[in-house]
Symmetry: C2
Subunit: 243 residues, 2 copies
């Protein structure tokens, strides 16, 4: 049997989604619990990685099991034993050919920026920019990203690792409530660090250190040496994965 | 010259307000920076202690200085050097006889409880109760606390340490927005752990394990052995101090 699980996690407590020898990852902690429950090694397949410090409101993974446990009991057992900064929201039986990574149709990420006074409580949960940005210019710059483009300029991987850097961004939505600016990206998929690079570029436009036309030129140059800045992971959330 | 400073801090990062040898306190970190700036030992006097894990939105302290620095420069210098989980919001020159602890007229604390689904991001910032409470019964029980009472039953100190356990609670306000319940206590002053004990008692009433009349009886008994439970510090915020 294959289960699809939706979970949230506080990225500030982990080295990232993927297993690494340098610290505790979300994947490792969940696999540890499943392995105890099954008395054999159990692996999980996530919809994709999130980097160190990046949060998830709804990350999705799948795993195979032969344990005959009701879904709500399974959920309870997982939540009782995994790290307190991980929470399984739902668990559902899926077809054996469901694949959490290969079948992703759309992903939504959100980046949260505090334009107001420094907030000590939200230090790990919002970028503390603490000054205003020119939203109109940011929206104008963001419009260049929408559609299908070769995002080579917003990519940190070598061409050998990720030969195809063409991705489709369906939409970039800006909402501002009080002093919180939220930038929501929906797309077919994203390169490593891509959203943080796009976001930092938009912030530069908002600050006036770059113009919307510069952004268009950078995108069209398809040159990975052009963008070196990326926004901190603290403000980034994997919000939803669609299949 | 005497300065009055208003600051916020994330209590989950400290052992509490007061200096202790067992870990970093808010007071110690601020005094460390002031001592460097003054090239001599500088102490600060807070409006009162907050315990380990308890947050402050507006804690107040005073200190004396002979440095002739403009308040905004002072503020900037303090914020640049103190722990990232502490933020000085304002600094103002006061009379030499102002006293941050002795002249407190009123204090407001707020306790935040998440009645909805477990929130991984707010683990250190709200009590994760994750189920409903009977608000009407809680309000009825809370009404017993309002006014001037001997709070000996809601006190963890020995009579020797705090001989007078009579305190005045001006008001207890309940607000509920979505799944967040906020209980705001305003009073002349509070005993150590008192608000956490009051809150846990109200939670017991909300869960139905205690009745409002039981609470009235406990208060009137003035017996410090009666209440042993206290709500976790994570949901508690020192919101405002009035002089």
């Amino acid at each position: 049997m294959r289960y699809k699980v939706t979970c949230s996690y506080d990225g500030s407590k982990f080295i990232g989604w993927q297993k690494q020898i340098t610290g505790l990852s979300v994947q490792e902690d969940i696999e540890r619990v499943l392995t105890i429950m099954h008395k054999r090694k159990v692996g999980i397949v996530g919809s994709g990685r999130t980097d160190r410090g990046v949060h998830a409101i709804n990350q999705v993974f799948h795993f195979d099991t032969d344990l005959n446990i009701a879904p709500d009991i399974y959920l309870h057992a997982l939540n009782a034993q995994t790290h307190a900064a991980i929470y399984m929201k739902s668990l559902e039986l899926v077809e054996d050919d469901f694949h959490a990574r290969n079948q992703v149709k759309k992903k939504i990420y959100e980046y949260i920026i505090n334009l107001g006074e420094y907030n000590v409580f939200m230090k790990n949960y919002q970028l503390q920019l603490n000054h205003e940005l020119d939203l109109n210019k940011m929206k104008e710059a963001a419009s260049s990203f929408i559609g299908t483009h070769d995002f080579a300029s917003f990519n940190c991987n070598s061409f050998k690792e990720v030969p195809n850097q063409i991705r489709t961004i369906f939409d970039i939505k800006f909402t501002k409530e009080d002093n919180l600016l939220k930038i929501e990206y929906s797309g077919s998929g994203f390169l490593r660090y891509m959203i943080r690079m796009l976001t930092q570029t938009l912030i530069e436009v908002g600050k006036g250190t770059m113009e919307p036309q510069d952004v268009k030129n950078i995108l069209e140059a398809k040159d990975k040496e052009l963008v070196s800045l990326k926004a901190k992971p603290v403000g980034l959330y994997l919000k939803k994965v669609y299949y």
